[in-house]
């Protein structure tokens, strides 16, 4: 294996800009080892990244790196020199390895999210939490949202203040377009706006013109009677010397104007004139303007100009005012929902990771900053609570760090950077060219530079910057293509007019391949349409045969759905082992799951004829008929009963077992789905809910990520491929329209310090184009979007190690500014032919060796580790004895009225019973006048004492307490015995064993105290029946212990309430 050599000198704080494949993780793990070599204790180093998987791999890599250097002198030498400590040898690395393994449980290598959650757990009361909290994963969070909405929606009664306000807000938020489907609307609202609300939960920021236009907005506030202006304009154009077509335009304009309400997209007729008027605004205001309609100029006189200007002002002003109001309405709606949600979910201890981060973000009113300084005031001191003394900070994927995340860590890192002792350090690594999470997770690539400048401004040279541009992943052919696309400063600048290309070009350095001998091919191929692109993917895979050559292979696409479809296509059409690494809705994406859900639905909702008939159309139909469950009554009874008694998982398992024989023998897929379905049901059971509707909902939302494995062709999104490398990469899904499309939804303007400045429901394009503030906002948003898209393409094109085939449709005359356009403008659009092995394909660009795949060495056999767990030989080892356990007291028989159990006073409280038992156990024998011995003590013991005493005094019970000759008594005597092959364990209340003169037992009586309320003879009989099993087992036990025959052992219930005995007859076996 070749190892990159970054020679490190020892600056304390390092920032690494690492291009794709240049060994980001390698640099990070080396840094970790370097810190160890300098004597840092492993538990004092924190290394944070974004995905759990990355964190896990990071740890494995450190250990394997140290283990390698500990047993191989050559590797030790390399590592030693890489970390700038050439004197170190295998023994030193072994020592470090030991230190790391011993501190394993205290290491802090993980995700930012889990690190934050850990901090929050340590400071609940400081953060306004109450005790433990759980983290809500995505589908759980959705379910919570639905619950909250349902609760909001089913509240009635006097419409209280809050509710009225909500309704008003809702009206304002949906002006002019009253919605029928409130649930759907709100759900959409929340998807789009909830995070924005939480970032700026103050109305001040929402739709506030003073914040948006601090200098005032000329359109707002103008009010006059439109009728006058309309009349003036109409009289002008009916008289003016203009063509019919123009006159028609004016007429249509006025008609459209009358019908239009602000907030709606202006119809064509309105927009046409509006556009012209705005373009000539200055002249219009001046009172003399020429407007060109359909290439014919028309001169407007003073009154016409004034009238038109007036109308335009009203339209634009009306639109802006409406948008402002809508924005505030949206805020109020969100606030209404949030109040509910907060109460029902967060306060019940269910937080999302985003909630946790928000809790920790210091922002004036909120949390206090974190510190390691025990003396600091108004700070949260972390060392003690976290059992940690963190000296060294390693941050991975820094370009994806959001400003919010940085704010939480900032004070701690400030302390490390400013630490005078020199014992602390800060290290971050990332690639601003791979910032593909800016819109999704608020990743903030600008932070990189800002932080660097910030610290270095205070302390010049505080942080050292390093650029890593040699790729240890990609061979030369690939690097050539990457440079040819992304190093084209001029072409990129033309494609991305905003700041996007500028930012890109500033950070760009040409890449080099650090593995020049890695042969391969990079090419841009073309296919006519989607079908052809997919077919080409299959063709290439069949030609190259990556898996047979032991190559890893990935096909990267833009969306999860595409991944699923394409993987299925490859499996179906090519019989290839392709796996979509996307989230699968395993509960509903197949007939089996759908039928199970129908089963539950039909049982819970017998009126659901769709579900009922659905069942009948599946093999379940015959099954139900077979079990006489084809009527709704029977089905409902059975399934509801099962679910309540056993939970969903067991119920599902039971049905699956019956269905199993109906699946085709080779149908591994449905069997796998069956297991996944049951596992999901198990997860749902843990919520304790038995609500079928909720379960069905849960299963519809439930998603599973297909497991990855190297021996398959992996189809995944580019986003998921980030951080991964494959020998062969295919990119067949790069079509699209506009690269710099800003995200839909509310416009959120942020200050340089990333706090929200204003929020606005943007008016449609025609209005914002003519407002400098809004136009600037949109421009910046588009630049950001463009940069992110460029990053996405970069990530896609830097995954390959040996070969990459980019497949797009021909660019041709298309004007779309999309990825193919970027390729065409950088690589050149010379349609031609590209050879890949035996294939001659349409293509425009290629480099490398078209026969690379035929020259590969045979793959090494992987070390096989046996997965089998061997068995031992039963005869040799001997089976440990195990028996069925029986407890006489649990041997319940007979029938009882359920109402008895549920009576509050009816049954005797268990502790009363225990107390009576305990007292009676004190009694060995009661001789003449012996009762009084107990009386004194027992009368102090309340009801139990009285009852016990009464039992001693009752003449009917005298036999219990009177000692026969040579009798022995066992009181509260435990026993263990084997009877009929079962292990019987229990405790006798009282047994009297009579013996003959030789000491042999001749007779025994088992007395069992029953303190329950017994009413009348019938009840006595029932009680005897109920305990017959128990007492007869006692009889057998006593027989074994005394060596008597069962017939010589009598069993008596001592009914303490009735103060009488009830004999339990011997049961035949």
């Amino acid at each position: 294996m070749s190892i990159p050599r970054h020679v490190m000198i020892i600056p304390r704080h390092v920032m690494i800009l690492a291009s794709a494949g240049s060994g980001k993780t390698y640099a990070l793990t080396n840094h970790f080892v370097k810190l160890l070599a300098h004597g840092a204790r492993p538990e004092r180093i924190v290394a944070l990244t974004f995905t759990r998987k990355a964190a896990g791999e990071f740890f494995d890599e450190i250990l394997n790196k140290l283990a390698g250097a500990a047993r191989d002198a050559g590797r030790a030498r390399t590592l030693a020199s890489e970390i700038g400590q050439p004197q170190l040898g295998t023994a030193d690395f072994l020592k470090m390895l030991r230190a790391v393994t011993e501190a394993m449980h205290r290491l802090r290598l993980g995700t930012l999210d889990s690190f934050f959650a850990r901090i929050a757990r340590a400071f609940p009361l400081e953060l306004g939490l109450t005790g433990e909290f759980g983290i809500l994963q995505e589908h759980a969070a959705r379910l919570e949202r639905q619950r909250v909405l349902r609760r909001m929606f089913t509240q009635t009664g006097e419409t209280d203040g809050a509710q009225k306000e909500f309704i008003e807000a809702f009206k304002r938020a949906t002006f002019g377009a009253e919605e029928k489907r409130l649930g759907k609307l709100l759900d959409g609202f929340l998807d789009q706006h909830q995070e924005i609300y939480l970032a700026a939960p103050d109305k001040e920021f929402w739709g506030n013109p003073a914040r948006i236009w601090p200098g005032g907005n000329p359109w707002l506030g103008a009010r006059s009677d439109p009728k006058l202006a309309v009349r003036a304009l109409r009289s002008w154009f009916s008289g003016a010397e203009i063509g019919d077509k123009q006159r028609e335009r004016w007429g249509a304009f006025l008609l459209a104007l009358e019908r239009w309400t602000p907030g709606a997209t202006p119809p064509r007729e309105l927009a046409y004139v509006l556009e012209k008027a705005l373009a000539a605004w200055r002249e219009l205001v001046a009172g003399r303007a020429g407007l060109e309609f359909d290439r014919k100029k028309q001169e407007l006189d003073g009154p016409a100009c004034a009238a038109l200007a007036d109308l335009v002002r009203q339209v634009v002003g009306g639109e802006l005012a409406r948008r402002l109001e809508t924005t505030r309405g949206i805020f109020d709606v969100l606030r209404g929902y949030e109040a509910f949600y907060h109460d029902a979910v967060r306060r019940a201890g269910k937080l999302t990771f985003a909630d946790v981060q928000r809790l920790l973000t210091p922002d004036g009113g909120g949390a206090r900053p974190l510190t390691r300084d025990a003396e600091a005031v108004d700070r949260l001191y972390i060392d003690y609570r976290l059992d940690a003394e963190i000296d060294h900070w390693l941050l991975d994927e820094f370009q994806d760090t959001s400003f919010g995340q940085w704010s939480v860590l900032r004070n701690l890192i400030d302390e490390a950077v400013q630490d005078a002792s020199g014992a602390r350090s800060f290290f971050c690594v990332g690639d601003v060219k791979q910032a593909i999470y800016t819109t999704w997770r608020e990743g903030d690539p600008r932070l990189f530079r800002e932080i660097f400048n910030h610290y270095n401004a205070a302390m010049p040279g505080a942080i050292e910057e390093k650029q890593l541009v040699s790729s240890w992943r990609s061979g030369p052919a690939l690097i050539e293509m990457v440079n040819a696309v992304f190093g084209q400063r001029v072409a990129l600048a033309a494609l991305f007019p905003g700041g996007a290309a500028e930012n890109w070009n500033r950070e760009w350095r040409d890449h080099v391949s650090a593995v020049p001998s890695r042969t391969g091919q990079a090419a841009w191929l073309q296919a006519a349409d989607e079908n052809a692109r997919w077919a080409l993917v299959l063709k290439l895979l069949q030609e190259i045969q990556p898996l047979a050559h032991g190559l890893t292979c990935a096909v990267l696409v833009q969306k999860n759905e595409t991944a699923a479809e394409l993987a299925d296509f490859l499996r179906r059409e090519g019989g290839l082992p392709a796996v979509a690494e996307s989230d699968l809705h395993v509960g509903i994406d197949n007939p089996l799951g759908a039928a199970l859900l129908a089963l539950l639905q039909a049982a819970a909702h017998p009126g659901d004829t769709l579900a009922g008939e659905h069942l009948r159309m599946t093999p379940l139909g015959a099954l139900l008929t077979g079990e006489k469950l084809d009527g709704p009554e029977a089905l409902t009874g059975r399934v509801l009963g099962q679910i309540h008694a056993e939970g969903f998982e067991r119920t599902i398992e039971a049905w699956l077992k019956k269905l199993e024989p109906r699946l085709a023998p080779g149908d591994a897929f449905s069997r796998k789905r069956a297991r996944q379905f049951a596992a999901a049901a198990g997860m749902f059971d843990q919520t304790g809910s038995r609500d079928i509707a909720e379960f069905v909902q849960f299963m519809k939302l439930y998603k599973v990520r297909d497991t990855e494995s190297a021996t398959v062709i992996r189809v995944m999104t580019i986003h998921k491929a980030k951080g991964l490398g494959f020998d062969l990469v295919l990119l067949p899904d790069l079509e699209g329209r506009k690269l710099d499309q800003r995200r839909e939804g509310l416009a959120v303007q942020k200050t340089p310090a990333r706090s929200v400045e204003w929020v606005l429901d943007l008016p449609s394009e025609i209005f914002r184009e003519h407002d400098p503030v809004l136009a600037a906002h949109v421009g910046a948003a588009e630049a950001e979007a463009g940069y992110e898209k460029l990053s996405l393409l970069y990530v896609a094109m830097t995954r390959a190690k040996r070969a990459m085939y980019v497949i797009t449709e021909p660019v041709g005359a298309s004007k779309s500014r999309n990825f193919p356009r970027v390729l065409a403008d950088t690589l050149g659009a010379n349609a031609g032919s590209v050879r890949v092995g035996a294939l001659n394909l349409d293509g425009a660009w290629t480099s490398g060796d078209a026969d690379w795949h035929t020259k590969l060495a045979a793959p090494a056999e992987p070390r096989q580790i046996s997965q089998e767990i061997g068995l031992i030989k039963a005869e040799a080892a001997g089976r440990a004895p195990r028996r069925l356990a029986r407890q006489p007291s649990a041997e319940k028989t007979g029938v009882m009225a359920a109402a008895r159990v549920f009576a509050l006073e009816g049954a005797v409280a268990a502790d009363f019973g225990t107390a009576v038992h305990a007292l009676l156990a004190e009694v060995e024998w009661v001789g003449q006048g012996g009762v009084e011995k107990f009386a004194e003590a027992w009368t102090m013991r309340g009801g139990a004492g009285e009852e016990a005493l009464a039992c001693l005094r009752a003449p009917e019970l005298a036999a219990v307490w009177t000692r026969p000759d040579r009798a022995e008594v066992w009181r509260e005597r435990a026993f263990e015995v084997v009877i009929d092959g079962a292990w019987v364990t229990g405790v006798f209340d009282r047994v009297v064993v009579e013996r003959d003169q030789a000491g042999r037992a001749v007779r025994a009586t088992v007395f069992d105290f029953k303190t329950d309320r017994v009413a009348g003879e019938a009840d006595v009989a029932a009680t005897v029946a109920r305990h017959a099993g128990q007492l007869n087992l006692y009889r057998q036990v006593a027989a074994v212990l005394t060596g008597l025959d069962g017939a010589a052992v009598a069993c008596e219930l001592v009914l303490t309430r009735l103060r009488r005995l009830a004999r339990v007859p011997r049961m035949s076996k």
């Binding site: 740890f59 494995d60 394997n64 390895l97 340590a122 009361l125 306004g128 909405l149 349902r150 929606f153 089913t154 009635t156 002019g176 009253e178 409130l182 201890g349 001191y381 003690y384 976290l386 796996v579 007939p591 759908a594 909702h605 017998p606 659901d608 004829t609 769709l610 009948r616 159309m617 709704p632 009874g637 008694a645 149908d667 591994a668 049951a678 059971d685 038995r690 609500d691 509707a693 494995s709 398959v712 580790i865 767990i869 061997g870 039963a874 040799a876 089976r879 440990a880 004895p881 195990r882 356990a885 319940k892 007979g894 359920a898 549920f902 009576a903 435990a974 026993f975 084997v978 292990w983």
Partner: protein
């Protein structure tokens, strides 16, 4: 048998609390399993000539399951000689300290309530070190959550005999949280005071006090601390006191040569185990890396299946609780019985959901609570008993759904008021009345009495046959619940504060977290915790979940008791846990070295995909071996099976039934859209129930608007009205009346908003109507029923409205449309066939030189039906009431020509003939999933999902 009796020790012990000098340590060698040796040790000289009587011994074992094992082994031992045993008293350390605390000790419930009272009344300003910020709301739930936290804290400290107030005394000078603990101590003092005022003692305080002065053990001559490597410190205090008068023997499962590795109590000494290399022979064959918990479960199941009947041969340990449920289910799936000796939380009991829905009902008699209760089997049984043979659970649920769909009742009383109207479901009324009665019962009395009465009502007629498993389980659950209820009743007298619903929350919580101990099924594999494994004697042992954090478990970051302070307080530390588990692992491996086998499984990730690490114990090897171990343990897990490709389990076989009688005009549209869906909907009559419905759907909404408009048409006084205000007033009043009639007085949020939307639309419609009348159009008929025979099929419909012009006499047919955006008749009736779409020839015709196909036939058929009554030309169109009020108005079909009409009739004939001929295939594949009411039936293509031809009779 080799039991070494070693000399009485003067221990060199790290902890101050070493056992008394008289204690003896015995070593039971770990070259064979513990259990048989321990039994032989206890039985001593017993000859088998009478019962094996060990009743004067007190044996302390690590866990309940260990005790169970020991007693079983004693029974076995005695039985081998035809005898039975009087066993020793077998205690866990915990039992030792909770033993006989007396009746004045506060129950958990009381302790929690005392905390909540204190916390709610607290002046937080005086406790700023505990509560640096004000909580968002100081309600009962807040207090209860904190109360649980504090109760837990007290319990943890009590393990070492400490109270909150004792902490500062142990932490030394410069303790950074001294002020906080001082305040916590004060809180605890108030808590104790509160309890004292009620005549109660705090349970932890009572334990600590009792440990200093335990009540004497009657009839016990000797205490044996048996293979208990991790006893609670407080339990040792108890033993130490007893040992002043009784003999104490400490039995350690280890060879005597290991004596120095244990303290006098038999606890492994951390220094001895921290760096020791554990002997784990054939490491790479015995330690197994698995991808995740499910993979671990599968491997263990495979071993168990390998044995056929594994009981007694295979012992199973589960260190990671995440693996437990998966393993349990995997075993059951494989047809093997499993048993979890730890018991199962009562949250899983069948009684729980019934109680939870009663609680919901008590909180608020919402309709959702009614629906939840309605599906509890016990409640259904109650209705059955109460309403007699007439009652049908299925009909009742169906009626309830119907009630929900039609009237969206928000609560029980609205539901009852509306149920009267659903004549089809006579069972609804009495069943709802029963629920109302339950509500009243719950509301009437104080909490416990109310609940008990309500349950008495529900179960009043049930007989429990205890031989039947289900009934026995119910009896068991019910007993446990009633126990809690009685506790609540008692506590209620002492704590009058909490509201009824707070009692519900408390009681349900206590019930849900209490454990049910099930009987071990015959032949079941026991799934045991690691500490219990010392007493497992099966020759083959497999332990799953051998990951760091599970073995040893470790605490990291605690809001009150971080590791550093634990150490100072003498609580269990990570180092002590490590030593204990290292010892246990060594002992488990050693005793199976000959003839046995131990396998350790660990996961690479958790079920949720979080990366996991192998237990640190697995790295306890000689340094020279470490790099190889790392490579072995930290490799990537072996390839999982490649994922099978999507396969259809089966195709649906729909019933084939004869075409129906008359069809609705509007249904023809469905056939044109998709004949197969038409079949499902119109012929088979399939319709789904949406239990989540909480607002009007498009049809409900349309019906409300229609009703008002219809009323307007009927109203003679408005015939000639051209005053928009009058019309508006009328329409809004009608709307209001219909809404209230259908949805009751108390409307829920979405209904209020939707009603508002309807109002806006109708208000605008009034203006349109006024101007239409002013233009001469008079409403002539409304809701006119029509029926025509087409192609041998009777087609029926209802025309919203027919207008006639006062002057010209012209006639027009109008249909009200309340869809979101205004509809144009032409666009709704016709479409240009898409590429690849091949409609039947009779559905296609040429219009302006382009090919057009019919989507809908509504308006043409109206005209067709009216042809006799109105022979002249009849105009047709829509009266649109869309969501943007600007779009309200008439949309007439202007270019409606006779040719068009003829084409429409031809198409209608085609459709009707097709329906009559049973032509419902092929389906339309283009329907968007989110608009397809039958989407749940289809996967990867509609035609591919259905075996239509094959299912033909």
């Amino acid at each position: 048998m080799r039991i070494e009796r070693t000399r009485t020790f003067a221990f060199v012990c790290l902890s101050v609390d070493s056992p008394p000098l008289t204690a003896r340590r015995h070593f039971i060698s770990w070259d064979r399993p513990l259990l048989p040796q321990a039994v032989a040790f206890l039985a001593g000289e017993w000859k088998g000539d009478g019962p094996l009587d060990l009743s004067t011994l007190l044996v302390v074992v690590p866990t309940q399951q260990s005790g169970r094992r020991l007693r079983e082994a004693l029974a076995e031992h005695a039985a081998a000689r035809g005898q039975a045993a009087f066993p020793p008293r077998v205690f866990t350390p915990d039992r030792l300290i909770t033993q006989g605390l007396g009746p004045d000790v506060a129950a958990r419930l009381e302790s929690l309530l005392a905390w909540t009272e204190i916390l709610r009344a607290l002046d937080l300003e005086a406790f700023r070190d505990v509560f640096p910020v004000d909580p968002p709301a100081r309600d009962f739930n807040w207090a209860l959550r904190l109360a649980r936290e504090f109760t837990h804290l007290q319990a943890v400290l009590a393990e070492a005999g400490l109270r909150l107030a004792d902490v500062n005394g142990k932490t030394g000078e410069s303790f950074c949280e001294a002020a906080r603990w001082q305040q916590l101590g004060e809180l605890e003092r108030r808590h104790a005071e509160k309890l004292a005022a009620l005549g109660l003692r705090d349970a932890q305080a009572a334990k600590i006090a009792a440990a200093k002065n335990p009540s004497p053990l009657a009839n016990v001559g000797k205490i044996i601390l048996l293979a208990t490597p991790d006893p609670l410190p407080l339990a040792l205090d108890v033993i130490a006191v007893h040992a002043r008068t009784l003999t104490l023997e400490v039995v350690i499962f280890a060879p005597p040569s290991e004596a120095d590795a244990f303290d006098g109590w038999g606890r492994p000494l951390p220094p001895g185990w921290e760096h020791r290399a554990l002997v784990l022979p054939e490491f790479e064959q015995r330690v197994h890396l698995c991808a995740d918990p499910a993979a671990q479960a599968e491997r263990i199941v495979a071993v168990a299946q390998g044995y056929g009947s594994p009981e007694g041969l295979l012992g199973v340990g589960v260190a990671d609780h995440e693996v437990l449920p998966l393993l349990e289910n995997a075993l059951i799936r494989a047809g093997l019985a499993a048993y979890n000796p730890a018991g199962r939380a009562r949250l899983d009991d069948g009684l729980y959901p019934l109680l939870a829905s009663l609680a919901a009902l008590a909180r608020e008699p919402s309709f959702a609570a009614v629906e939840a209760l309605a599906r509890c089997p016990d409640f259904l049984a109650f209705l059955q008993a109460r309403l007699g043979r007439e009652f049908s659970a299925a009909r009742w649920l169906e009626g309830l759904d119907e009630l929900h769909a039609r009237h969206l009742p928000a609560d029980l009383s609205t539901a009852r008021a509306q149920a009267v109207k659903l004549k089809k479901y006579p069972g609804l009324m009495p069943a709802l009345a029963a629920i109302d009665e339950l509500c009243a019962t719950l509301a009437n009395d104080e909490f416990s009495a109310g609940v008990s009465a309500a349950l008495g009502m529900i179960f009043g007629n049930r007989q429990l046959d205890l031989v039947r498993a289900g009934d026995a389980r119910l009896e068991d659950s019910a007993t446990a619940w009633m126990e809690i209820l009685r506790e609540c009743a008692a506590a209620g007298a002492r704590f009058p504060g909490p509201a009824k619903i707070a009692w519900w929350d408390l009681a349900l919580q206590l019930f849900g977290e209490s454990l049910r101990n099930e009987d071990k099924p015959a032949g079941a594999l026991e799934l045991q915790g690691v500490l219990e494994l010392l007493f497992e004697d099966a020759p083959h042992l497999a332990v799953a979940g051998f990951n760091d954090g599970a073995v040893p478990d470790s605490v990291a970051g605690d809001p009150f008791l971080p590791e550093s302070i634990r150490e100072k307080l003498g609580l269990k530390t990570n180092a002590a846990r490590f030593a204990r588990d290292a010892y246990v692992l060594q002992a488990l491996a050693a005793c199976r070295a000959q003839g046995g086998r131990i396998d350790l499984l660990f996961g690479k990730t958790s079920a949720a995909g979080d990366p996991l690490r192998p237990s640190r114990l697995l790295l306890r090897c000689a340094d020279a071996e470490l790099p190889a171990r790392i490579a072995f343990l930290f490799r990537a897990p072996e390839q999982a099976q490649a994922n099978p490709s999507w396969t259809r389990a089966w195709r649906l076989t729909p019933r084939h039934v004869a075409a129906p009688g008359p069809v609705a005009v509007t249904a023809l549209r469905r056939w044109l859209e998709c004949p197969f869906r038409f079949y499902l909907r119109q012929v088979l009559g399939l319709a789904a129930v949406d239990p989540a419905k909480n607002e009007l759907d498009a049809r409900d909404f349309g019906a409300l608007c229609h009703a008002a408009l219809e009323a307007m048409g009927h109203e003679a006084a408005l015939r000639d009205c051209t005053d928009a205000a009058v019309l508006r007033q009328f329409l809004l009043a009608e709307l209001e009346r219909h809404t209230r009639a259908c949805y009751g007085e108390a409307l829920s949020l979405p209904l209020i908003i939707q009603l508002e939307s309807a109002r806006q639309r109708l208000a605008r419609a009034a203006e349109v109507q006024a101007s239409e009348r002013a233009a001469g159009w008079v409403i002539e008929q409304v809701e006119k029923k029509i029926s025509v025979e087409i192609g041998g099929l009777l087609v029926k419909g209802k025309i919203d409205r027919i207008d006639r012009h006062a002057e010209t006499g012209a006639v027009r047919v109008l249909d009200y449309k309340t869809s979101d955006s205004p509809a144009s008749p032409r666009d709704t009736h016709l479409h240009a066939p898409r590429q690849g779409e091949t409609p039947p020839v009779w559905a296609v015709f040429e219009l302006d030189g382009r090919s057009r196909a019919w989507t809908d036939l509504q308006l043409p058929l109206y005209r067709h039906a009216l042809a006799a009554e109105f022979p002249g030309a009849v105009a047709c169109g829509y009266f649109n009431l869309p969501k943007a009020v600007g779009g309200t108005g008439l949309a007439l079909w202007d270019e409606y020509t006779p040719e068009l009409h003829a084409a429409a009739v031809r198409c209608a004939e085609g459709v009707c003939a097709a329906i009559r001929a049973g032509e419902f295939w092929p389906p339309n594949e283009q329907v968007r999933t989110d608009y397809d009411e039958f989407a749940s039936l289809f996967h990867q293509g509609v035609a591919a999902s259905v075996a239509w031809e094959e299912a033909k009779p």
